[in-house]
Symmetry: D2
Subunit: 379 residues, 4 copies
């Protein structure tokens, strides 16, 4: 099985998420990095690309240059990952999709709902793959949750309790640090800060696991540090189209929480509880029964979870492996396209441009609701 | 030190909370049970009283009878506990206060704000003690939290995350069971079910620990099982008068949660996290520092926590001991009154009628807010 | 149901274990404290007794005086608790048993095997009750473990992993403090320090839960702080008569462990795991199945566990309640004796003089084994 | 930075540990797989090699063939990983070392002490690198423990409590399954089963973290399932040359334990506690102080831990990343050799042939000790 070829935009030396993409894309040997525009600084980007083993002529200084050169190659990359800052996602992603590339874009897909709609439209017209990196949905036990809900193990879903709380923007003295400041500046960050950046993962996970789409939202946004214009803490109530109610808390001022992404799902027949910091265990309580601990790697997990798991039970498989599942799905889909066959249905769990669009709608609606005292607002 | 005398109304044989009161009131040897009207059924109540060692002539069949007989005794009880169903609290408590007894009333203090206001008025006129049993505030590490906040260890409090979620009313088949049904019937339960019954403990704890009073609330109430008229799940945002924001989730449909009372407090300088199911540990994270585990019984805890602790470190002291701290406070206050001295300031942490009134206001405001789409409503 | 009368020797003001006995004996209202010799200092002992509400004429200065006066009273105490330092247990307990009292003695029952044998002989001759306070065996979920083993839920027991590790004697600078020093002085502590003091609880629990008696032991004792003559850390392998192997670690130098009493039991058909610091949960893994969390208070627990439980599920019931179960058992047994009826079979779980004797044999055998390089030694 | 070339022996399709090696070796982009003899079945091995992207002419059917062809190539692999069954390690590893290759061998390095001595001798004569895959020592927080001990943060080490317990060989009905049976057959497994296979990781970790070498051992081996000839549960006491005592439990019958590799280290000034199933947290208790939670990725960790960490705090980095640290160390060492420079001192933490030899000595000594009733035996 020959490798697929891969290009990367953003994720340069010292970037936060770049290394995880490289680990994850390469982890199963599916993707081979052949081209890149890694950095806002062209020279740094080229140098680092060569370090990473990319041929010098495909180590580009900018994504525009890369687009120009790569679009006409017969061996152009099978997948382009966009891991640049948010404000550039729309321009880059839509340009590459239009030029006929398949793209994995970091979240958020765009800055506005309109942009996200246009990207969805492009994918529909062109048939291109556009995925969005809600990578935590790649954890095997998150996929297990989805499978259990889909199989009816919980009955009708009544309630979802989702959280993503950390404390990394709690220091008032750090608030003016440019690395933090832009995140709370509407000019650069849009209408929402911590919900759009962190809480949105919990939002996607709630929809992913329940298999339901969001219908309306009532939100409360708070700016708790200094004179921030955007929220650093938010509470949302979201009504989903299958009847579930989702309560979602997200915060950047929760000192002591590290990466507090958790999901609890309650249905007529049972409850589930999962936390990203201990991703190898899932608690399942059947109505009237005892709580059971499901271990990743257990016999008896769903096909979805088994497919997403690589190493023996009892070990932490970790977040790079979770993200690798997104790449694994994409590899299967891209290979199926090449071969003119249908992809493995289990590969169709990666987040799509439609999911990215739903997120943008939710962000806009939540900001509107929060701005009008929590009024219920359509998504 | 001679014992104080104690009377009990409600808490009969087979009642849920009665045994805990008897364990807790007697635990330090402060109170000696001398009179009672334990049961809705006079004969059962008398028989059980005699089993408990009460003299037959003080084993009453009804609280009215007890009031009549005991009010004129020279050795009348130093404290009367009211542990009957909610709808009777106001009538019983106000009658005993008016007759000159000191009272510990179970929560909720009353069914309406007006009633609670009248009780507060009575205590002001008569100088009687009226406590309300928010017993979880008796846990040593909850008092430690309060002491740390008061000492400024967390700086100004920004955010409080409070929860009380269980799954004991999740079974749709059980919903018509009379033991469950009355709780969701407005005629018997008032304007709120799970918030008034369970979430209110989390509400009291948030106020208690922060030392702040609630100002306004935006609430979302949901009825998730069958056709319940009152909420079995609620989300509240509450603004406190010291600037803190409290987000409070309460649920009766969270299958798998047992007694999920938890409190997280986030300030400018640190965060605290405590859960009732593991009450012996408190997590404290100073801003920029490492999370520390405070053990009940640790050297270096506050005077409040030390006073509330009886057994060596590393053991579960348990909930009956927490409730015993309320009785311990009351014993000190009642003895001080008798002796004409000032009580130990550390004894003044028990919840009062004013706290009971605030709860009633919060319940009314939350129900109003929920009924108007989450509008911010004064408490 | 009239109260039983109770006397206490030791457990004076400021003592470590005295308060727990008073809380636990009184917790269910079974016992009423009527006589005492609480303190090595007669005046302190009398004054504290009066504080506790004992009649002055029964507030004795010494146990000898108490024995003299109480033996001929018609209303002599139904139970005498001995909570003095170890070296006095034998003399006091044998004197009271011989005089016809029923006794609950703190552990260790005696200082030597010979003494323990004599106490067992006395109880056999006189028919007196002599219990030993291995109070942790009173935890509802420990009794649940015993019941599950007895019911065959785990099949034949293969292996028991027991631990009791703390770090309270780890400070070399404190080692000469008299409060610590005597514990490592053979003249005062006998042949073993940390195993006889702490590990012995784990030992009793292993026997109690498995229902098996110890046969032989191979031990390694280590003195890790300063020049202590007795062990502050020990490892034992113990073969039980039903074929189970027990591995037991105990330590007083494990900095960071608080009250690390844990028990894991592994049989042919499943495994159990319990820790004293979170006594409300028991993990059960059936062979080939998922781990289940048993909560104290769960529907479906054994009659033994139900009888030992007083407050609702999800609360920490705590250690005073566990100890109260020993008193609860004794109350039933004493009342049955009085009434000339057979006691409730479920009340026969309290630790007896025979258990105390087995402990003394295990201590002697372990010290011998440790002294001869770990040779397997009969118990 | 061009990639190093890599070859693999064993680890074929469906093997347990093969996939982890491929993920880990490739994870940082250091190694590129160019040659292999992956399987006992030559055809399966070749086919899978081609699937993995190896050139057909370097997809060998046997390691002998590979040795023959590769030894004379100018571009021969920079590193050879041996991941075949234990009994073949000595022959393969010594052959490749002698032929001038650098080797990473799976544990155990050999089947006997004599063989391990010969491998150490070869590495000394030839200057070849020979590493052994005690991969858990690659976890960042394990390296943090070692750094803290080395820095004196715990003072002199007194005691190490090490465990590796699982329950995967507990099923008596499975005991005759050939996949399990060979492990307990002395002809195939040597003198020890569970200690040599699982406990040995805990043993290596104890030595690694303490920086001390083992001196003597007293062991108890037990065969608890069926009529196994080798132990499925073992307890060891080990005296180390720096004065520390290590107590090590290992088991294959502990139903409910998954991958119970844990390490606790107790010194004069503090204690550490780490468990492989939650590898992202390390508990540190300074003498007389509060337990602190160190998170992987925390500011203020040691250079060793920082170097071993790739993704942001709060995520599970996982076991493949831990193993990747062994490859990362080797890559640095191999590159330094090529460049004629000294390697980064932080890269010298990978386990070596000398560590492999120590393990073999410990296994032999433990089996001897266990065979003679636990006699203390030199390692
Ligand atoms: N899915 C997740 O869990 C997750 C986690 C973290 C970040 N992210 C997302 O990843 C994206 C990047 O975040 P980050 O934290 O790594 O940011 P970062 O600032 O650490 O790195 C951004 C990188 O992009 C490069 N870059 C900037 N502009 C560029 C341009 N025009 N062309 C090429 N390269 C350019 C920068 O030089 C830098 O190397 C963001 O959209 C963020 O929301 C997602
Ligand atoms: N603080 C807490 O954590 C907590 C916990 C549980 C219950 N409660 C409160 O305690 C109160 C009692 O709750 P419960 O769960 O024990 O109820 P329950 O129904 O189990 O018991 C109520 C008892 O009161 C008796 N009673 C009823 N009417 C009476 C009357 N007129 N006179 C005398 N006795 C009467 C009943 O016979 C019964 O013995 C409620 O107000 C409840 O909200 C508080
Ligand atoms: N079961 C358990 O878990 C547990 C826990 C702690 C202690 N203990 C046992 O309880 C016993 C007491 O331990 P402690 O830690 O409370 O000791 P302590 O030193 O704190 O208290 C001992 C008490 O006994 C009194 N005393 C001493 N000699 C006396 C005498 N001759 N007559 C009357 N009173 C006398 C002392 O004045 C003091 O009040 C010990 O045997 C100990 O092993 C058991
Ligand atoms: N470091 C660790 O944590 C760890 C974990 C598991 C296994 N291991 C070790 O890894 C080794 C392999 O264990 P496993 O569980 O993966 O075994 P396995 O039986 O699952 O796989 C062994 C592989 O080696 C191949 N093989 C056998 N003989 C061969 C030969 N002569 N030439 C080439 N290939 C051959 C087999 O075909 C198979 O693909 C063992 O030594 C084991 O102790 C280490």
């Amino acid at each position: 099985m020959s490798k697929l070829t891969w290009a990367m935009i953003g994720g340069g030396k010292g970037s936060q998420i770049g290394p995880t993409h490289r680990i994850s894309a390469g982890l199963d040997g599916h993707f081979h990095l052949v081209a890149s525009a890694l950095d806002a600084d062209p020279e740094r980007g080229k140098a680092f690309a060569i370090d990473l083993g990319i041929a010098p002529e495909r180590a580009y200084g900018s994504w525009q240059e890369m687009l120009e050169e790569e679009r006409d190659r017969s061996d152009r990359p099978d997948l382009v990952t966009v891991a640049t800052p948010n404000a550039t996602h729309y321009e880059i992603t839509s340009a590459f999709l239009t030029a006929g590339f398949d793209v994995l874009c970091e979240k958020p897909l765009t800055m506005t709902t309109q942009e996200a709609e246009r990207i969805v439209a492009i994918t529909r017209e062109t048939g291109r793959v556009c995925a969005v990196n809600y990578g935590y949905s790649g954890y095997p036990l998150v996929r297990q949750m989805r499978a259990m809900v889909a199989a009816g193990d919980l009955g009708r879903i009544r309630l979802i309790k989702a959280e993503f709380a950390h404390g990394f923007h709690a220091d008032a003295e750090e608030a003016d640090n440019p690395r933090v400041r832009w995140r709370y500046d509407p000019a650069q960050a849009g209408v929402s800060a911590v919900f759009a950046d962190a809480g949105i993962h919990a939002f996607h996970m709630a929809c992913f696991v329940s298999g339901q789409a969001p219908r309306e939202v009532s939100a409360d946004f708070a700016s708790l540090v200094g004179d921030r214009q955007l929220e650093d803490d938010a509470m949302l109530n979201i009504r989903l189209d299958g009847g579930a109610l989702c309560r979602l808390w997200t915060s950047a001022v929760a000192i002591g929480r590290m990466h507090g992404l958790t999901l609890q799902v309650f249905g007529e027949k049972g409850g589930l509880s999962w936390q990203q910091q201990h991703p190898e265990q899932l608690l399942f309580t059947p109505l009237g029964g005892r709580t059971q601990i499901l271990e990743r790697g257990d016999a008896g997990l769903s096909a979805e979870a088994v497919r997403a798991s690589r190493i023996p039970i009892g070990h932490a498989e970790g977040m790079p492996v979770a993200f690798a599942n997104i790449y694994h799905d994409l590899a299967d889909v891209l290979r199926a396209k090449k071969a003119g066959r249908a992809p493995d249905p289990l590969a169709l769990h990666y987040p799509t441009a439609e999911d990215g669009l739903l997120s943008m709608r939710a962000i806009a609606a939540a900001a509107n609701s929060a701005g009008s005292g929590g009024r219920w607002t359509d998504i």
